[in-house]
Symmetry: none
Subunit: 207 residues, 4 copies
DNA sequence: AATGAATGAGTGTTCATTCAT
DNA sequence: TATGAATGAACACTCATTCAT
């Protein structure tokens, strides 16, 4: 009866996942100070069960952070190592970001970890590093884009920060007021204007 | 010599202000869950003293929110009722915002009140209303700007949200990593490109 | 074997009862200002456990008051709706009271709730009403007794108050100095003399 | 200018007395857990001033207890060493007691000290001793009265306790509900029936 | 003499965590 | 596996007490 084992394992995994998803939602909603009881209530289990799967609340956060850092939204490869001009790759990066507004929970979690001075330093470092990496990836793309003329001239560091800040704000607002943002979420194009080079007039072009 | 009374009153006011400022910083750093001991430690007083000046932690938050809503950064009059074209007024509004990055604490406080499901509903309503007002003011300006051609065409609601989100993200980042953002804070111009109409070429203009 | 559930429930009820009894004793001894730690120590549990069973200290007081008002000592039916002459019923009422000296805790609790200006108004009202009811019941009995000549003539309100005050004092003393009062607790007869009509002499009777 | 000193001293004494009276009222109303601020508010002074006159809250309680033990209501001499039959002296003792209902604060204070396990042991002992003395004085009177036939036969200890309990209850009720008890306070006669010997009929007397 | 700013121990309550079942 | 009873550290708030003015 090796099936039994498999079934058990599957049930086990499902429970873990259920609690983890509940934790993700609750943290997004209430911040890292959400209680174990909040999580258990959201998952409709007893808080004791969470301790069956994880050693502590911090361990749950840690696993969620790890998941978040592995999720496609936090993945640098596509935009960086995809064929196409820098401008095209920036476009698809921003579009991906705009799309991730449908599941902002991971983003909010990383944000909370980064900004809670009381979060475990190890996790904060992890998130900080990833954030830095993404900034650098974006910066690289921008510099390339400036070379091809697809991106506005100017301090690339400022452009990176502008893009990041804008994305940050959008995801947070999208989570906080989903109805409002469902309707009026800015198109990726609006967003991309931050990077848009000035449309040179024919006259200027000719000079 | 009624000076004595005056001096006492001044000392009193200074202490109040000292604690209030400490609370502002601590809330910005740790969120509304910062403890009274956090605040007291930041102000280098005992927590008991805070209760000499305020009835509760909530009263401190409340006073800070009231201050924040009165602060120039949250004031709609200048941008809305100033002479100049809509585009010029938008520019000065955004510049004011960019400038307020030097004191992002108030902004963060309002943000936290708005996003903490446990914050007193009365305060949340207050902040929500103000936020709505600002969005509407900005929307008005944008619609006007679209009429004069100073602002890009498109759904004004999306533009409002893009601007707000961007500002939100920038202030939060500026607070979280002041050194980084001191150096590379995006110019207002970058920011304003979100609203920028496409520079029409002479040729198009002529058509 | 659904026994397990039953056993658990029983243990749970026992713990609740244990803490409740401890609270009753401690309140009787120290007043309503007795601390949660006092209660927990008396019950030999942690204070946290009390919060597992009740939402607050007030909830414990409230449950105790409810119990007290349901207890036989606070029940008016027997004396009021029992067969017998008013004098006989008064006698049994007073005897019941004298008997309740063995468990004066409930009485003391009600007394404390009634006299603590800080006790929850809802409870105070409840106790006050019951107190009034008992006075009225007793008054009724006294008036009846005066009609039959079993009770001394005079203002029935004064008699009621005299009886109540006497009972109040006796229970409080019995609780405070149990040894002393075990030995010398006044017989119901002594008590009842307050109501006793003067034994008319034969001579007077003849007149 | 020795007048100045005198005036100062008088003012000083008045302040002391004012605070002390305030404390007496507040303790009677709220119990020994009344705060220094309660007292100061009742006396319309700052709490700091109380510390100018006494070293601690306990010192105030202590002085009040001392006063109470010196007050005529707590004085045994008149009833014990006055001319008259025991019955007459008992009557005047009870009448004095009934009269003291107009100022029950002292009585309540002594009661509270006696019953608060946290009150300073020294004070409790003092009050306990006095209470014992009064019981013994009363007992003596009762035994004498039994000898003269002015007091009912029976265990004198029970009679003492009945009288004390009754007085205790009456003073407490008189303080708690002054309006009610102003009107319906039992006459001393009712009270004294506890001690009343059965009116023997002439016939019995003759036997 | 008088005030009230300032402190810190103590109280009601919450919550992460452990553990027996 | 799953529950929830049980614990104790931490937090908001109170209050006796000290002390500078």
């Amino acid at each position: 009866m090796p099936r039994t084992e498999e079934v058990k394992q599957r049930l086990r995994d499902e429970q873990r996942a259920k609690i983890l998803e509940a934790a993700k939602r609750v943290f997004a909603r209430k911040g890292l100070t959400a209680t174990m009881d909040d999580i258990a209530a959201e998952a409709v289990v007893s808080h004791g069960l969470a301790y069956h799967y994880w050693a502590s609340k911090e361990a749950i956060v840690s696993e969620l952070v790890t998941q978040a850092l592995r999720s496609p939204a936090a993945d640098l490869h596509p935009p960086l190592h995809t064929p196409g001009t820098p401008g095209e790759r920036l476009k698809s990066l921003v579009r991906g970001f705009v799309e991730s507004r449908r599941h902002p929970e991971f983003y909010l979690l990383l944000d909370q970890v980064l900004r809670s001075p009381d979060a475990p330093e190890e996790l904060r470092t992890l998130v900080r590093q990833r954030s830095k990496q993404m900034q650098e990836g974006l910066r690289h793309l921008i510099v390339e884009g400036q070379a091809t003329g697809e991106v506005a001239a100017g301090d690339p560091d400022q452009l990176v920060r502008a893009i990041f800040a804008c994305g940050d704000g959008l995801l947070r607002w999208a989570h906080h007021d989903p109805d409002d943002f469902q309707e009026h979420f800015p198109d990726a194009d609006i967003f991309l204007r931050i990077l848009a080079p000035e449309r040179t007039s024919i006259k200027e072009e000719m000079e």
